[in-house]
Symmetry: C2
Subunit: 127 residues, 2 copies
């Protein structure tokens, strides 16, 4: 189940992530590859790469889905220690922040995953 084939589309999309250490929104990828593949293919390739733990995703404050390199739970053990994502208000770029955020357990709730979005200015935009 969920065998991933190394198609031309898969290779192209992976190359975009190798060139760029930041997170990339689906819309950016659709535009970037609008001559190379259909937008539906972009959605489906990203979906497969996420299932295969090659990429992980998060949703920005704008509601747009973004992807970045690596599986979601790199440091397995504690599921709750997921890393936050930074989103620059000025230039729109986003990136993974390699720290752990600890969530205390909350009575009456079972927490399986968490998403943390940090919003502000990146180094480039701090003029």
């Amino acid at each position: 189940m969920s065998i991933i084939r190394k198609t031309k589309s898969v290779r192209l999309i992976l190359s975009a992530f190798n060139d760029n250490k930041d997170a990339i929104s689906i819309v950016e990828l659709i535009n970037k590859f609008n001559k190379k593949m259909n937008k539906t293919t972009v959605y489906r390739v990203l979906e497969r790469l996420e299932k295969s733990s090659i990429l992980h995703s998060f949703v920005g404050k704008d509601g747009l889905k973004r992807y970045a390199k690596g599986g979601k739970n790199s440091n397995s053990k504690k599921i709750l220690n997921s890393h936050p994502h930074f989103l620059c208000e000025d230039c729109g770029t986003s990136s993974c922040i390699p720290i752990d955020i600890i969530i205390p357990s909350i009575p009456n709730y079972t927490i399986k995953t968490s998403e943390h979005l940090l919003i502000g200015q990146c180094k480039n935009c701090l003029s």
Copy 2:
């Protein structure tokens, strides 16, 4: 600027939040009031109530915007200590979690706000 009038629409929407301590998505509100007001009005009333710090909003993992009672920075002082939101995978309900999440400062980034989404099962769905 941004005077808020107590219109019928405003009262109706506020009543929905008084009946329900959970967060409510815009889509739910549009459906709930589809006989009482236009969807555009729902968007605009919510926008005003948020600006007036009567409601605050966050975006779920599904990309849908949700609103809940109260202003964003109830406990002003530290902007970075914003409360997380819980989202139940099973029943879809979401709610404010009244705890503070502390974000350590990160070199090269200026963080102004943060969003924390906790995903799992709520008490009702833990059968």
